[in-house]
Symmetry: C2
Subunit: 166 residues, 2 copies
Amino acid sequence: MISIRRFGESDWPCVWAFLRATFDAGDTCVFAPDSAEADIHRAWIESPSATYVATAEDGRILGSYYLRPNQPGLGSHVCNCTYVVAPPARGQGLATLMCEHSQLEAVAMGFRAMQFNLVVSTDDRALRLWQKLGFGVIGTLPRAFHHQRFGYVDAFVMYKELVTQV
Amino acid sequence: MISIRRFGESDWPCVWAFLRATFDAGDTCVFAPDSAEADIHRAWIESPSATYVATAEDGRILGSYYLRPNQPGLGSHVCNCTYVVAPPARGQGLATLMCEHSQLEAVAMGFRAMQFNLVVSTDDRALRLWQKLGFGVIGTLPRAFHHQRFGYVDAFVMYKELVTQV
């Protein structure tokens, strides 16, 4: 049984370990392989509206995501999330659980839509997953992601409205 | 004869006056009408890679823009700019001059593309201008801008590659 709760500062060493492992691959996430811990702490924990961790029954942390406004002011009703699943926990539906959780949280916080700014075009699994969860491809940004194996590759902007009434 | 130079801190009172006047309208720019001066100083001056002002021959400041990476890390080769023309100087080609200037500056700084994240769909003039200057509409974000007169309206993501060789 997996549960999702707010991040607490004592979770950081574990979260940082799998964030670093994920960013080191340089194939799915915008954060660079050589990112400094303080910069990622700021981006993942300090800047967002909220950060969450997914945990196993025994308390092990299996993944984490943050939620924040994607733009200031007159664009701040659209949120943005980034999800990372710890390598040993991949393939178990964690990203789906976190994404569904984030949509409920976002609506509870008053957000009206969710936007992913850079879905890497070579990351078929993520693309299919977000589409299955109701996100549409708004458009393709040519060579907007610097893939660490493939060089500059396209990235998709994806979007889902969470609240449709005015 | 209009020239464009780097912003200096003594320019701030003048720049802030026309930024505030522009944001107060709430129809073209993502910054909210009630934005605090310190927040806009951070967004316009402190956070970007560089900020510029366009000046008349007599030194009057006619407009300003900032240039920054649109994303961290593996997306940081794509830049983002926001341009504001002071109300009395509108209709004289200032936005075109600043946008052309920013593209040269961006290339000189090593950026490979420029992205506008939220071009308000009701702002026909901006849309036509960016298209004329070589930017394409990547896609349409449904109701992503909270227009102060029209409510939630669509916004375009626009993009131009500045460097095409690998």
